[in-house]
């Protein structure tokens, strides 16, 4: 019974933790402009993150090594360092976007200037990273993130023409007034939002934090293979409701309020309140995850003690990195940069950086020296190889598309 509860809890937190500021903004933007015609990208992205997370979770459970241990062991110190710098810049950008997302969510309630909220959010994130238990962060914020189910309820309440939505999703039917290159640009952005590298840094390091062994592989798989796809359905609900409410009005999404607008239209004030609770929990959870990912990855490259399973004074360097990263992210937001814009940039660069960490994990997941009998099977390798190609294509296409479309205009 206890085991089923653990599996259920894991799945629920995976659903709630799947959506972050990148998914919220990108799905709403895409939904408002393209409806569900890019739903296939969400499907590809969700399957991709399942493949990637399952592999890295399995490696962490069997060998006890997290992502950046393996990056350095397989790619060597030089390429590993370049990889670390690139991955950390992008994870830091995501960290900034998540903290900004928390502040924007709170601003919807408080109606005071964003720059008055940001320092408090930064402080709250740091206090949580310093004091809170790992499982508390993951479970409480993950479960509260489930409030985003309100988007699915809202879509159902709006009573759209389900047949038309399904047809649009199945035939990738791009609305006539949009250009193919913006269609391609948003496809890459959605892919980057679904397959953000920090999710895997956090997931594999979390496995080491929670001391997974080979016996935990089945639980880990259940969390990933059930939780992430259900989280992907939430993403589609956000896109679908944006299409139904914002599409006909030709509203393009450039604030978090507009992301929540369809829920307000469908369910009124109460719905909006629940949605905002979901926004806060999802972005706050993701802020903790990205912040920890920065600390984890740097410590893993240098071999220093990391993790919340030891007391802070046992892992001083790790906590110093967390403090500095939170301070720097807060300072960056205090320059009055638009968090929505940071989010848009971070999802595209996530797509660029993905091959850097995907490739070493794929190689190690096949290495019997690490994995013994738990090496990739045919299915994992078949999908793993297909995604290696897909990820590389997305990474190469991302920046040219970003420049060509002027970020999707």
């Amino acid at each position: 019974m206890k085991k089923y509860l653990a599996v259920a809890l894991g799945i629920l937190t995976a659903i709630g933790g799947f959506v972050d500021i990148g998914d919220l903004v990108t799905n709403a933007q895409v939904g408002a402009r393209f409806g569900l015609s890019l739903a296939w990208v969400v499907a590809i992205g969700v399957l991709g993150i399942c493949v990637f997370a399952e592999m890295s979770g399995r490696v962490a459970a069997v060998s006890g090594r997290a992502t950046f241990d393996l990056v350095r062991e397989r790619l060597g110190p030089r390429v590993g360092m370049l990889n670390l710098v690139a991955s950390m810049l992008i994870t830091f950008l995501t960290f900034v976007a998540e903290i900004g997302g928390v502040a924007l969510s709170l601003q919807l309630v408080a109606s005071v200037h964003l720059l008055l909220i940001v320092p408090f959010v930064g402080l709250a994130v740091w206090v949580l990273l310093w004091r809170a238990k790992f499982s508390a962060i993951e479970n409480v914020l993950g479960l509260l993130g489930l409030a985003l189910v309100v988007f699915a309820v809202g879509l159902w309440q709006l009573g759209p023409d389900w047949g038309a939505l399904a047809q649009q999703a199945a035939t990738a039917d791009k609305p006539g007034d949009e250009h193919w290159r913006t269609f391609a640009y948003y496809a890459v952005a959605l892919f980057g939002a679904a397959m953000t590298p920090y999710e895997v840094f956090f997931f594999s390091s979390g496995g080491v934090e929670e001391r997974w062994t080979a016996e935990d592989i089945s639980t880990m798989r259940a969390n990933v293979l059930v939780g992430f796809p259900l989280g992907g359905l939430l993403s589609l609900a956000i896109a679908g409701s944006a299409w139904v409410v914002l599409g006909p009005l030709q509203i393009s999404v450039d604030s978090l309020g507009q992301v929540g607008l369809p829920v307000a239209a469908a369910l009124g004030k109460v719905g909006l309140a629940v949605a905002i609770l979901g926004f806060v929990a999802a972005t706050f959870g993701a802020a903790c995850e990205t912040g920890l990912s920065v600390g984890y990855s740097i410590a893993q490259y240098f071999g220093r003690q990391w993790g919340k399973y030891v007391r802070p004074k046992e892992a001083v360097g790790f906590h110093v990195v967390l403090v500095l990263a939170t301070l720097a992210a807060t300072a960056f937001l205090m320059t009055a940069v638009d968090p929505i814009m940071v989010t848009e940039v971070s999802v595209v660069f996530s797509a660029v950086a993905l091959p850097l960490t995907y490739f070493p994990i794929l190689v190690v997941a096949n290495d019997r020296d690490y994995m013994g009998e738990h090496v990739n099977g045919r299915l994992a390798n078949g999908l793993g190889s297909i995604y290696l190609v897909v990820i590389c294509v997305a990474a190469v296409a991302a920046l040219p598309l970003m420049i060509w479309t002027r970020m999707g205009q």
Binding site: V62, S63, G64, R65, D69, R72, E73, R74, L75, G76, P77, R78, V79, G80, M81, V208, R211, T213, A299, Y301, F302, G303, R304, Q305, W306, V310, E314, F359, L362, V363, N366, D367, R368, D369, Y370, G372, V375, N376, N381, G382, G384, S385, L388, V389
Partner: protein
């Protein structure tokens, strides 16, 4: 992590290992499972005619030179300049192999991490051997040392037996030379194609010049580096 680590993979110190693939850049854990650094380099000492692994080196002074090129040199100098009052700052920290308990996905020490590090002594480094230019008997460059293969000697210390020669970066074989069936097919095919000229040479048939940074072979290498795992 002490409890769970006990059941992890077998100890590799008692068998044949590839230095860059299995030992360099691994995590160092003490007897209580706490982390204390990476294997930033490996100390090689001449014992009789053999080069034996006698210690692991850790710390920035071992890591920075391995970044290679002008970056590695510049960073190593900067590291020294950060505190010129400190003697031997460019000498890395060293852990003797007698304090290493076993090697699997990490290097496990048999002692607590408190005060285990000693200053390095004069010896050769594996990180310098890998990456050395390899010359054929006529003095022509035929590639680089990609990895170094060690086997346990009579007293149990790991002794250098052969070097793997090829083009590219040390470690770029990614372990695909060791086993013909390591997946996925796509990556294996590309890696094996890029390294189709890689070969293995016994150290008995080569002269390592540490001053010049070259390995001169007495005969042309023929044997491919693959071997079934023991």
């Amino acid at each position: 992590m002490t409890g769970t680590d006990e059941q992890r993979r077998e100890n590799r110190l008692t068998g044949r290992i590839d230095g860059a693939l299995h030992l360099l850049d691994r995590q160092l854990l003490d007897c209580e499972g706490r982390m204390l650094g990476k294997v930033d380099d490996v100390e090689l000492t001449r014992v009789g005619d053999d080069l034996a692994i006698t210690g692991v080196l850790t710390g920035a002074a071992a890591l920075l030179p391995r970044l290679g090129g002008s970056l590695g040199g510049a960073l190593t100098r900067k590291w020294a300049e950060l505190r010129i009052s400190e003697p031997h700052r460019t000498r890395p920290w060293r852990i003797d192999m007698s304090e290493v308990d076993r090697l699997d996905s990490a290097v496990h020490l048999s002692v607590r991490r408190d005060g285990v590090l000693r200053r390095d002594r004069d010896a050769h480094r594996l990180g310098r051997l890998t990456g050395m230019d390899v010359l054929d008997p006529d003095g022509e460059r035929i590639g680089r040392v990609l990895d170094a293969r060690f086997e346990p000697g009579p007293d149990g210390t790991l002794v250098l037996r052969s070097v793997i020669v090829g083009h590219g970066r040390p470690g770029s074989l990614l372990g695909y030379d060791r086993r013909g069936d390591q997946g996925p097919w796509l990556v294996r095919t590309v890696v094996c194609r890029l390294h189709r000229h890689s070969a293995i040479v016994g150290v008995a048939a080569s002269d390592i010049s540490w001053d010049e940074g070259t390995v001169r072979l007495r005969e042309r290498p023929r044997e491919a580096p693959g071997h079934p795992l023991d």
